[in-house]
């Protein structure tokens, strides 16, 4: 697989995600509308609203991600050495310079967001700056730049908002149907009641499966991506050991990253939510085991 096929796969999957999201949201709304005896017009209205929502998010999702992560933009004057490292690696990758953001948190971690290399943001925590030496920092940044180059950022950023929202809608649905069954209007025909029950069942099923599907989606698109970014990052610095020892340090660090949450966890270079290593979390984890990544880097 070449870099160019990665890019086109990411572009295609972004379209697919947006399409599935719009259909999903409009479908759920239509189901509710039918359940409460509304018109199909509501479904069409939902379709239009969802389309507008997705289009806006295509452009603004990264700002949202940056603000929930409490990242602040920094300039060359603030961090000249960091700036220089990023600049050099960008030259090596033939990328335009991304904007650089810092999260003030002692946990060492990093991520990238944006929609294409021309509109990309590189985010690192102040803990990463403190705890890594230059070679390790280069390894981490080269890994992140590979995500930009591959257009991983476009898909991953949209996932934060769209999948996060699907989970939210599903939660809401469950509550809604819960109360809905208790207070059914009594002035309805019998046949309608049977149809209503079926629709209600479908709605409940959707509410149950939506978050699981969302999680599995996140998993499927994230794990191999990390291995790929590791190897192309190592190709850029010509020094796999830099990233390997950086990952080792990150793995050894027990501090959780305060601003990360389930919706943004998959963006980071290493899982920022620590201390939940149960079986279920492993099943749904967005990152490949860090030991395996280190092993592969050292075997290069």
């Amino acid at each position: 697989m070449t870099i160019y096929s990665n890019i086109s796969a990411n572009r295609r999957n972004t379209w697919l995600l947006m399409f599935v999201f719009v259909i999903f949201v409009a479908g759920i709304v239509e189901l509710i509308a039918l359940a409460v005896g509304g018109s199909y017009i509501i479904g069409i209205a939902a379709l239009i609203v969802a389309l507008i929502f997705v289009t806006i998010n295509y452009y603004t999702a990264s700002s949202l991600v940056l603000s929930v992560s409490r990242a602040r933009e920094v300039k060359r004057e603030d961090y000249p050495d960091l700036y220089n490292i990023v600049e050099n690696l960008c030259i090596g990758d033939g990328l335009p310079m991304p904007k650089i953001y810092i999260i003030d948190d002692k946990a060492p971690n990093a991520f990238t967001t944006g929609r294409d290399p021309q509109h990309a943001q590189l985010v690192i925590t102040s803990g990463l700056l403190q705890k890594m030496n230059k070679l390790e920092l280069e390894g981490v940044i080269a890994h992140e730049l590979s995500h930009i180059k591959d257009y991983d950022i476009r898909l991953m950023t949209l996932i934060v908002v769209l999948v996060g929202l699907v989970a939210l809608v599903a939660d809401f649905m469950l509550i809604f149907t819960w109360f809905g069954t208790g207070s059914r209007p009594s002035n309805r025909g019998r046949g309608e009641g049977a149809v209503g029950a079926i629709i209600l069942l479908a709605a409940i099923l959707a509410a149950i499966f939506a978050p699981i599907a969302a999680q599995l989606l996140q998993l499927a698109i994230s794990r191999n991506r990390e291995y790929l970014a590791d190897s192309s990052g190592a190709l850029l610095t010509r020094y796999p050991e830099g990233l390997a020892s950086a990952l080792e340090k990150i793995a050894a660090d027990n501090e959780p990253l305060e601003v990360a949450n389930k919706a943004t966890a998959h963006l980071y270079i290493a899982n920022p939510l620590k201390g939940h290593e149960s079986w279920a979390n492993n099943l749904f984890s967005t990152h490949p085991p860090i030991e395996e990544r280190i092993r592969r880097l050292r075997a290069m």
Binding site: E87, N88, I91, G92, G94, L236
Partner: protein, 192 residues
């Protein structure tokens, strides 16, 4: 329709298809050559930056060590060669020559503690080393593109288009022997 007409249509369709295929191959090669040229400009920018730092550096060193004329001449000559270099090959040679000349210059500068302590000199040294690492990265990107372009024009069926349309292999931007050599690690203690 007669059999002749069918054969005619068949030939026309075949020719049309061939033209389409050649068109696609040609465009692919042009794109690849564009990548090489684009990434060359990445090196060129840094080489220009490097040569623009030289006059200032020479003046600064002259202020402390005016009599080391030969060293200055070599540096200036190498810089002129770099500025006049037209293609990747000659630019690489001139750049490597400049690297050698600068090395002598800095070795000479070691003998002048006042020079080494001067703010201006330290700043120039820092900028030069920054430019040098940028050249190294730009070279990596450029050589990667050259490699894929050169491979592309030589494999079948691209080669059928590359030859008649004059796609010639591009030159790599070669590093100095020294840069290519493995880093030697010494475990002996440095004399205190």
């Amino acid at each position: 329709m007669s059999a002749g007409a069918w054969v005619g249509i068949g030939i026309a369709a075949f020719v049309f298809l061939m033209v389409l295929v050649l068109w696609g191959l040609y465009n692919g090669l042009v794109t690849s050559r564009m990548h090489v040229r684009e990434s060359w400009s990445g090196i060129d920018v840094q080489l220009k930056r490097r040569s623009s730092l030289i006059p200032n550096l020479v003046e600064t060193v002259k202020g402390y060590a005016a009599h080391e004329r030969e060293v200055f001449e070599n540096v200036t000559k190498a810089r002129a060669a770099l500025m006049n270099a037209g293609d990747a090959k000659s630019a690489a040679e001139a750049n490597n020559q400049l690297t050698g000349a600068l090395k002598t210059l800095f070795a000479v500068a070691e003998n002048y503690p006042q020079l080494r302590a001067s703010e201006n000199f330290m700043q120039l040294q820092k900028e030069l080393s920054d430019v040098e690492s940028k050249i190294a990265y730009a070279r990596q990107f450029y050589n990667g593109n050259v490699m894929s372009y050169n491979t592309r024009i030589q494999i079948f069926p691209n080669v059928l288009v590359a030859r008649p349309f004059g796609f010639t292999p591009a030159d790599f931007f070669a590093a100095t022997e020294e840069e290519k050599a493995d880093v030697k690690v010494s475990f002996e203690k440095k004399p205190a």
